[in-house]
């Protein structure tokens, strides 16, 4: 199958899914249909990947879309987590319906927006046009706002409003940054040519772009997309949005949307660094990253809600990734890409386990969730192992990437190493001391009307374990190629 056709299937499936589920999403079999659409998307992503492996990078549809080493693995990861989350959401949403928290109209909205959200993320990842990337990022926010407020509780409405307005304002900054980028590019590439916002064209001429304009553009782009990454101090919307929506949405927001926003930041950084010929963009990323890690680690101590706890942990990990991309160079970039992968897999697995745990306890407060291991050992062990993995315990993959980041930091930015180690230690103590009583001890949990979805949890954890022990050679080659592409000092 040609790359173009596969690509059309990849983007077309979730869009069609949004339409079909918008009409039928409230039916009994709709969750299965949601899984079917996600599976087709994932198969298309796999086919596209194998095409890329044999034929190399491609540019599609009058250069508006492109696939290279950096985005191809993120596309596959997004489609994969999209599929497993759809599998998890099947029993999860059925239980929510039984508990009377959602009705069939809300379920229809949920399924339709789920597919639309997948489509916007895939467009943001594959588009070559930085303007379209902005459009897709904003569309990703819009498609999830009504999902965050799905339960219509006061807290969820507040979270939804915060999400909408903060990300809206943030992304407006990114639009200004994009305009400035276009302004600088138009001087070199010409306004008539369509190339002035195309990343592949910009990447060729990046050394000629006006540095003064690009440094200003980067400030706006970093603040704008950084808001969506959840970088401190722009992270305010994130814990609320992750805690108040349905858990499958928390899993994809945390596991996928943050990655996509991170991807946008890094794409812009490559251009700006090429123009400035200095380490200023890298230093800005390191600063934001470090601040996020430290702030999140200390805020972890104050959390009482299980989903907020892991939302803060996402801020911490995004901070680590931002810091690593800020350092730049082949090893740090490799580690950052690996960390993006393992964080995405681990965090969504944790949210799956937490989702069923909160359904069993009937509450999201950690004090109410006790002794999971006695009633349902699998959910308990899933949560425990996921937490250990996210805390960077060997032999899980997070350990490998954090270890690489820390050793690179020791070599390149020795001043930052103690700060990182301290924050990681604080985060470890905070999360472990909360999760331990949730898993062990006396139980108060009740049985669920549907068997919990355990396959997604353990598939993710197995993959993270594998990535900690052994990275398949083709995956390592990809990471290396992407790390070269991102460059840096």
């Amino acid at each position: 199958m040609s790359s173009t056709l596969t690509f059309v299937v990849l983007l077309g499936t979730p869009l069609l899914g949004a339409l079909v589920l918008g009409l039928t999403g409230g039916k009994r079999w709709a969750p299965n249909l949601n899984v079917a659409f996600s599976l087709l998307t994932f198969l298309a992503a796999c086919a596209l990947t194998s095409n890329i492996i044999t034929h190399g990078n491609v540019v599609l549809m009058q250069e508006q879309f492109f696939i290279d080493a950096f985005n191809v693995f993120l596309v596959t990861l997004t489609a994969f987590v999209g599929l497993t989350t759809a599998l998890f959401s099947r029993p999860y949403m059925r239980i929510e319906v039984e508990h009377g928290r959602v009705n069939s109209a809300q379920l229809r909205l949920y399924h339709s927006m789920y597919q639309l959200f997948m489509a916007t993320m895939l467009i943001a990842l594959t588009t070559n046009n930085l303007g379209l990337m902005w459009v897709a990022m904003e569309a990703a926010t819009l498609s999830t706002v009504l999902l965050v407020t799905l339960y219509r509780t006061p807290a969820s409405l507040e979270a939804g409003w915060k999400y909408f307005i903060l990300c809206g304002v943030g992304i407006a900054q990114a639009l200004f940054g994009t305009i400035l980028l276009y302004f600088a590019a138009e001087k070199i590439l010409g306004a008539e040519g369509v190339g002035a916002l195309l990343w592949t064209h910009l990447n060729v001429v990046k050394a000629q772009l006006e540095p003064a304009v690009l440094s200003l553009a980067f400030v706006f782009l970093l603040v704008g997309y950084g808001t969506k990454v959840g970088l401190a101090p722009l992270h305010n919307w994130l814990p609320d949005a992750h805690a108040e929506g349905p858990t499958p949405i928390s899993a994809v927001l945390s596991g996928l949307l943050l990655n996509v926003a991170m991807y946008a930041v890094v794409r812009c950084k490559v251009l700006v660094e090429g123009s400035l010929q200095s380490s200023l963009p890298g230093r800005m990323l390191m600063g934001f990253g470090l601040l996020s890690v430290v702030l999140a680690a200390f805020f972890l101590w104050r959390q009482r809600d299980a989903k907020r706890l892991f939302a803060y942990s996402s801020i911490e990990h995004m901070g680590i990734i931002t810091f690593a991309f800020g350092m730049g160079g082949p090893v740090a970039n490799f580690a950052a890409l690996l960390h993006m992968t393992v964080h995405s897999l681990t965090k969504s697995a944790i949210f799956f386990a937490v989702g069923h745990a909160t359904q069993k306890a009937g509450s999201q407060l950690m004090d109410d969730i006790r002794g999971l291991i006695t009633l349902s050992p699998t959910v308990g062990w899933g949560l425990m192992m996921g937490s250990l993995a996210i805390l960077g315990m060997p032999p899980f993959g997070v350990f490998a990437s954090e270890f690489l980041i820390l050793t690179t930091a020791m070599k390149q930015q020795p001043w930052a190493t103690p700060i990182l180690l301290l924050a990681l230690g604080v985060a470890f103590a905070a999360i472990f001391s909360r999760v331990q009583p949730m898993v062990f001890g006396e139980t108060t949990a009740k049985r669920l009307p549907h068997p919990p979805a355990l396959v997604p949890v353990f598939t993710h954890l197995a993959l993270v374990l594998m990535l900690g022990l052994f990275i398949p050679p083709y995956l390592a080659d990809w990471y290396r190629a992407a790390a070269r592409l991102i460059g840096g000092h």
Binding site: Q64, N129, G131, L132, W134, V135, E138, A139, L142, V145, L146, T149, R152, T153, P154, A155, L157, E158, A159, G160, W161, K162, F164, I165, G168, V169, A172, L175, F176, T178, I179, L180, Y182, F183, E186, K187, A191, V194, A196, L197, E210, A212, V213, L216, D240, F299, R302, Q303, R304, D305, R308
Partner: protein
């Protein structure tokens, strides 16, 4: 700059830019929500006229399209939608802003000075006839931002948000004669969808709280 030496259409464009800025200040001090929406519509209309003038001046076909888009979306549809929403929801007045009006206006003046400073290097590099308006565009964006942070009612914040988008649009026009058409369509689509989502959202908020005052939406704190 000698104004009389400028061709008539450029003088007109500069006047429009100045009017845009004045409107931003009017919005900053306006507490009646109906008037706020009308001001937003006028701002959209000015933007549309400016785009048309620029299209005529440069002969760029995509600017005509973009002017048509502005007319349809920002002058007609969005104000109509917002008016309909406030009629249905019955919110007509915003409460006293968080900072009093005089103070806000003073901050606004400082913002204008800052914006011109910020835009200076960009204006110096720009080759468009409208490059002197870039500072005004930045000022419109920042004043809209100020409007958003000093208001309590959700509706005023949304108007501020749209005014910010107007400023960005004007900035893109002044600096580069607009973005590529595909991007402008995308942005317009996003704004449209955002407003529709908001419409749904407002009814949810009102159903829950019987009010659109954002004070109700301040219970989620860090330590929860």
């Amino acid at each position: 700059m000698n104004m009389t030496a400028l061709p008539f259409d450029l003088q007109l464009l500069n006047t429009l830019a100045a009017l845009l800025l004045l409107l931003s200040f009017a919005m900053l001090s306006q507490r009646r929500i109906v008037t706020l929406i009308n001001l937003l519509a006028v701002q959209g209309a000015l933007l549309c006229i400016a785009t048309l003038l620029l299209a005529w001046r440069t002969g760029a076909g995509h600017l005509y399209l973009s002017a048509g888009l502005t007319l349809a979306l920002k002058v007609i549809f969005l104000p109509w939608l917002l008016h309909r929403l406030i009629r249905k929801l019955g919110v007509y007045w915003d409460t006293e802003p968080l900072l009093n009006t005089t103070g806000t206006m003073l901050v606004g003046v400082l913002i204008v000075v800052f914006s011109f400073g910020l835009a200076q290097p960009i204006s110096a590099l720009a080759s468009t006839a409208t490059r002197n308006s870039i500072g005004i565009a930045v000022a419109v964006v920042l004043i809209a931002f100020l409007t958003m942070i000093t208001r309590r009612k959700a509706m005023s914040q949304v108007v501020g948000f749209l005014s910010m988008e107007n400023g960005l649009f004007f900035g893109a026009m002044s600096a580069t004669y607009g973005m590529p058409m595909i991007v402008e369509f995308g942005v317009a689509l996003d704004v449209l969808v955002a407003m529709l989502v908001l419409g749904v959202f407002f009814f949810q908020i009102r159903e829950q709280f019987d009010s659109l005052d954002l004070q109700h939406l301040e219970s989620l704190k860090e330590d929860q």
